[in-house]
Amino acid sequence: MIIAARRLTKEFEIKANSAFGKPLRLRAVDSVDIQVGEGQIVGVVGESGSGKSTLGRTLLGLLSPSAGTVLFDIPDDVLREYDGFRRDGDAKGAASIEMEYSIFKKKGEKLKKIRSGMNMVFQDPYSSLDPRMNVMSIITEPLLAMNYMKPDKAVDRCMELLEEVGLPRDFAYRYPHELSGGQKQRVALARGMATLPKFLVLDEPTSALDVSVQAQILSLLRKIREKYHIGMVIITHNIAVISYMADQVNVMYAGKIVESGPKEDVILNPVHPYTIALISAVPGKMVKPNRIILKGDTPNLINPPQGCVFHPRCPMAFGICGWTADEIATDLKYLVNDKFAGSFNDKAVVSTGAGGSLVINNASAGDEGVLERIINEEKGNMKSLTAIEGLERHGTNIELKIKGYRVPKMYNHDGRKVSCLLYAGDDNKA
């Protein structure tokens, strides 16, 4: 593998609201495993804020991870050995392999060598090119900075690269403001390829471009992959672009990879509830009759939902996905005091207490029977109700017991990996 990341995690410190408060931690990337083979295109798709760019930067060592590791140019059998050490808890074995391959363990010349073996093309062609430098300086900068070649050689290389990305030679003397969006992105690509890297991260390479220009850039990227066998990670929110370009697809949600596998499986036959919704939301002429419209928004990463981070929006969520007493109480209030108000004591109140208790106060005799029936009727729509394990009466109170929850791991399912408790198999029965 050109690149393999294991349990890669990146947290940012955010200023607290009050001057005395502890700084808050925002986990932008959470325990990500990802790998890229030689000449392989791996897609990372997700909505804004899901951690795609942060993952890309951490993979290249531009950000240092809070946990986990990135291994560069590691033979497949060594990687298997490494995964074996990790599984068996052999810290020493794992550390010795990290010593050899981790990009975070390299210094000096070795680090420089690795650096010239990988590169990034950024999201926004309008701000990623220095406006004071001409195209020649932009493209040759990485060559000279890494002492990759002598200045006169670098000029030749620049001309070669311009040709490679389909720009006339005289563009070498233009400045960014004299280029169109597509031309800027070609220059950024030429710069990214200058040192003939083995690994390239492309962050939203076409998001700022018109579709006609996007098509040109995408076919250029394919050509480059064929010719130089560069391993690429393409980051985008555009599922169709991923579908066109990638061999392997990783779907990110709230810092986690929720589904990962071959494009044909993940895009055409998704299994994670989020991927299913994401792909059904792609607009198009063939409006799907079974389109899933997700409720709400992506979660706050400073204080993410417990259990499965997707559970508050998940159309398939069930009892152990992470429901809290507060989440259940919101739905119960609607049922008890509004939708079915006539069926309960007028004074019935839903309340939550410390330690996650959930109680209905001032219940009349027989209310728990009604409640039980209503919960059964409504839990198809209100997934939070599936987490209610039982009712118990204490005087005029009905106490509700909430099921324990689990945090999904990566499970193998139908040719891909998926992080959803629906696929936990035996692990689920525990």
Binding site: E47, S48, S180, G181, G182, D210, V211, S212, V213, Q214, A215, Q216, L218, S219, H237, I239, A240, V241, S243, Y244, I267, L268, A277, L278, I279, S280, A281, V282, P283, G284, K285, V287, R291, I293, L294, D297, T298, Y334, L335, N337, D338, K339, F340, A341, G342
Partner: protein, 456 residues
Amino acid sequence: MEYTLNVSNLKEQFYTRRGIYKALNGVDILLRKGEILGIAGESGCGKTTLGLTIIGLLPRNAVVTDGEILLDGKDLIATLREFASKEANNPNLRHSENIMKKLNKQLINVRGSRISMVFQDPMTSLNPVLRIGYQIAETLMVHQPEVLAKRRLARSKVKDDDLREALKLLENGADEQSIKAFAETRQLEGIEEQLLNIWRRNDLGIARKEKMILSLRSERLGGFDMAVLQRVVSQGRIDGWMRIPGLNRMSKAVLIKEGNTKAVELLSSLEIPNPEEVVKMYPHELSGGMRQRIIIAIALANNPELVIMDEPTSALDVTVQAQILDLLKHLKQRFNTSFILISHDLSVLAEVCDRIGIMYAGRIVEVATVDAIFNKPLHPYTTMLISAVPTIKGGEIQGIGGAVPDMRFPPSGCMFHPRCPYVMDKCRENNPQMKYVEDEHLVACYLYEGQKGEQN
């Protein structure tokens, strides 16, 4: 055929130090009542310029050199044409500013109430320091103060009996007409809208709605407020004495308060959860999707005949975009408004539009139903635009060679000719006119000459 909007041969130029940009070069649009027309095209083809011109918001360096914009048959931009014909060759931009002032005055009763626009840049649309409810209330107060006044007066007159009666009607499935008739016979005009809006809420259960309807009466009106509201109803607007400083604030307060109440109803009709809380929030407290819903709510607040939406979902994530597109489909069924939906993304338009117009270099070069645009595109540009977009099903894509022209020096003849694979001699010399090739299918391209009659 009755058209809400009829734009013909609209031409517009921007005067800059670096030259004259020919942004619009003869745009034609016919928009029916209740229809959604999509406008698609690459960046810089003039989509936003077109939208802004229809609503009469032009930058000061813009000159409309020709064309008409008719809203329900009335010309909106005669003033602009007049200016251009007087100063055709070297317009004085200072004069242009005066013209804009004049235009603004003319359009004061059109903009925001008969035509409204959702702008491309979502950050500029909401005022960051005002609460959501206030911002909605303000547009309502400016454009329809009498509607707010009637609502409030009706609540001060209504009796418990009336409300119980109304509730019974609603529970028995009464339609809009009969609720209206009910309000009229009891001289409670203004109450019908509130009854229906509460009754239609999906976020509340029946018990809450009953309670809300039965408590519509409880608010009392002071003497001053009563006088203000009665005056607004009889004049149909906020008139003279209410503008007197001092009185101004006080007389508006009652209208703004009522606007807030109506804002809650509007937000709930846009499927915004907890609208009572949302009206108290500031824009930054809301997610991008919520902000966009509120911007749409403001655009729809006064029941305009035409709403122009410029890239309403382009800044949103796909799952949120799907929510908004779903909402637009519902709105179309509920309001009898015509929409122009601008997007660079054809597949977004495919979801909600009845017809799509393809724009290139300041002209609409093809208009047809969504089906025809995708299954039977005629203009070479349309074909290439569609085949440039990757789909999730995979399959090859085709880039369009060349680039959009520099509109200071637009190409001769058909402006697409430098990029067109089928270019003929006459394409370089003459500009093809829009022609009907089939009912509902118009195209401006010499490949289809003589297939059917001229545009009529």
